[in-house]
């Protein structure tokens, strides 16, 4: 699976829900928006090999 976090690309071996992925990455659901294969996806969506997951931080201080 291709994983992009704030424009940084990496490969990750993962299968499961986005919720589980965010927990594994130690990211808070409340602070990010996730796109799967270019489309906004809910945390219940399942992802796996072949998917492109883009995690975008949306909560900033200031």
């Amino acid at each position: 699976m291709k994983l992009i976090i704030d424009n940084e690309k990496t490969e990750l071996d993962f299968s499961g829900t986005l919720d589980a992925l965010l927990r594994e990455l130690k990211l808070m659901r409340e602070e990010v928006v996730v796109k799967v294969n270019g489309k906004l996806a809910p945390e219940t969506a399942r992802v796996g090999p072949g998917d492109e997951v883009n995690v975008i931080k949306v909560v900033f201080g200031g």
Partner: protein, 279 residues
Amino acid sequence: MFDKRFRKTVRMAKMLRKGERVAVGLSGGKDSTVLLHSLASLKKDLPFELVAITIDEGIEGYRARTMVPAKRECERLEIEQKIFSFKELCGKTLDELVAGSEKSRSQKQESALPCSQCGVLRRYALNKAAMETKADKLAIGHNLDDMAQTMMMNIMRAEPSRIARMNEPVLKSGRFVQRIRPLMLTPEKEIAIYAMLKGIALEHVECPYAGSAFRGHVRKMLNESEERYPGTKFKIMNSFLEMEGTLRERYSKGASLSLCPECGEPSSKGMCRFCQLSQ
């Protein structure tokens, strides 16, 4: 869903009236930009005037970047934009003020922290700008997360008097433009999703001073609570709305408002915080 909640919030709190002139505090971040879009859309059904006011605090590498989308969105929506700066208002940028306070004060003192200073100056600047643009209301992009954080911060600091004036000053004055918060019941994440769905291009940048704030600690705590106990932020906000009236009544008794001897603006006691910081 988003538009419905936005309009319901405006209607329930009686925030706007036909024909009023509304100034939007537009930083160029997602909250204020989405607020501008939503008000521009509401304006089609409820005729009122809209003007955007942008405050340039003078934060190197930060504000200049968000001012670009702010200008672009005003042009796109054909809304007049007025820009004010800390430098014009008090002779110093926030960067200069922070550098000065680091030399002269202990950073452990909360009032010396950049976010506290910026909060005082920005409130003053927004009000002054709204007065100058002859606005009846000042709309600001505070969302559900901001409100829940402020509520918790006031509780953790044991400052119920601040809860009483979270929405507006306890005492009315002709020198305060009434503030409205049409996004106060909308979660921050929903605002981000709305901006994406509407194709509003934003600069995702974090204020370089944000890390020093108590607010950052509370934000993290509330987001962790929300993950474990969904609805936490709404429950905090509902608690605020429930107790706001009682607290306002209690703290308005015996309260008086004087004028700052330096600038003539309303102040609860002696020289206002803006003038203290500007000196």
